[in-house]
Amino acid sequence: MPALSWKAWRESRARFALSAAALAGLCLALVVFQAELRRLIGATEPPATTYVGYLHIRLYASVGCAVFWLIAIVLGLGGLARERTHGTLGFTLALPVPRSHHAIARAAIGVLELAALALVPVIVVPAASWLVGERYPWSQAVGFATLWLGVGSVGFAISFAISVIVRSDYVALAVAVLTMRLVPSAVALIPGLEGWRPLDVMSGRGQSYFDPATAMLTCAPWPVAAAALVAACALITIAVQLARQERFA
């Protein structure tokens, strides 16, 4: 398993490094240029006039959230179907391990990478805020990171399942991108799930654990994140089963 995990890491590290750099750059830019950006928003009422409210609007409820969702899609892609196209499948399948282990190692590394990426704003935002003379609570950053990890894992799992089913690189990418674009709209159309669109859950918008008056989480969103992780695990299990049954000519 460690060798397979190492292989999965080698295959995805460029995506991970790029994603980490992009997220860190985004967080830094939003904090460093906060004065100009807050002036551009032109807010007159709290919470948008507060620093915490500004960061929620710009990072946790819009660009940052969307970038993380996008990254989750791209990290989920790859796997045995892609290896067939690249002609390396024979080498991988010749390894003395069951096929499911390949998928499990890739999924585990992907979720760990996602967790590491969710931690980027936890480190960058409070630290950079302190440097520019502002203050952003660590507890809030950790709370949003938990939500990002939970919901991002579901996105990752959907993309992971698509990568098992669709063989071509670009087609898998197109299907994953479109699915991720359509999932939030589809969820909003299901009665009873209107308020559970992925980006709303990640940002806390309209959720019981979020106070819109202060733009802060009112409690640690562990149950939501745990439920999302369980859903992600279920999807990954299905994908692993599909990968086991796949016949490679």
């Binding site: 460029a14 995506r15 790029l18 994603s19 992009a22 830019a29 240029f33 100009e36 950006l37 551009l40 660009v63 970038v67 996008l70 990254i71 791209v74 892609l77 790859g78 196209t85 690249h86 002609g87 071509s168 690189d169 670009y170 087609v171 990418l173 197109a174 299907v175 991108v177 479109l178 674009r181 359509l182 709209s185």
Partner: protein, 247 residues
């Protein structure tokens, strides 16, 4: 062409047709997936707006705000980049670059035909979006909105062409398909943020996404010519990179 290589003997139109067929075969599944999903998204967005006919917001305005300036536009941007990507760099990873380079054509021709097919597919996608939006709009009693749709076909084809060219450029520079696409999308997002943060925001002609949304008031001819020139520039850079790789 490499020094000492055999000069191309195939006639240019015939070679271009063969290369176009090759590029079409490589991208047709992507195009089919994109067409089905974009068509469905357009139909859903417009049909969902049916109940708004009695709303104070004019139907044409609703179609513009919900489809041409919102979710459909974002999906189109992402798909345009996907349709544009794919070059010799990826073929090298798959192991087919040798066969492609053995063809009696220059790398410039390969790039030109690949870019041409990508642009044609982007145009087809823009036409499809316009046809579906107009059709569903007409069927639901909101009017065909033909003038509006035609202006958007032109704007989206030109702007989508630039996005596809950037995708192609990224795929020339970066071997990994996913990293190439991610770099392109992140670069586009960075461009959006830069436009929003700098004085460029006062000039809508500098904002590609504003240009894509502008035809609701009239076709921004000068801005579109600028975008077309930028596309040519991006492809020229791609050609230079390919030539540099050849040496």
């Amino acid at each position: 062409m490499t020094v000492g290589a055999v000069r191309p003997t195939t006639s240019a139109p015939r070679a271009a047709a063969s290369l176009a067929y090759k590029a079409w075969c490589e991208t047709r599944v992507r195009l089919a997936v994109a067409a089905v999903a974009l068509g469905a998204a357009c139909a859903l967005v417009v049909a969902q707006g049916d109940w708004r006919l009695g709303h104070p917001m004019p139907f044409a305005r609703y179609v513009w705000s919900a489809a041409y300036n919102d979710s459909v536009k974002t999906a189109f941007v992402w798909l345009a980049v996907i349709l544009g990507t794919g070059s010799l760099r990826q073929e090298h990873a798959v192991g087919t670059a040798g066969f492609t380079l053995a063809l009696p054509v220059t790398r410039g021709q390969l790039l030109a035909v690949r870019a041409g097919v990508g642009l044609a597919e982007v145009a087809a996608l823009a036409v499809l979006a316009a046809v579906v939006i107009s059709g569903v709009s007409w069927a639901t009693g909101g009017g065909a909105l033909i003038g509006l749709s035609l202006r958007f076909v032109v704007a989206w084809t030109v702007c989508g062409g630039l996005l596809a060219s950037i995708g192609l450029l990224a795929s020339i520079a970066i071997a990994n398909e996913y990293v190439g696409w991610l770099v392109t999308i992140l670069a586009i997002m960075a461009y959006q943020v830069t436009v929003a943060l700098t004085p460029l925001r006062r000039s809508p002609a500098c904002d590609l996404f504003q240009i894509m949304a502008m035809p609701s008031t009239g076709l921004p001819i000068t801005a579109l010519l600028g975008v077309a020139a930028a596309t040519a520039g991006v492809l020229a850079i791609g050609h230079r990179w390919l030539r540099a790789r050849e040496r």
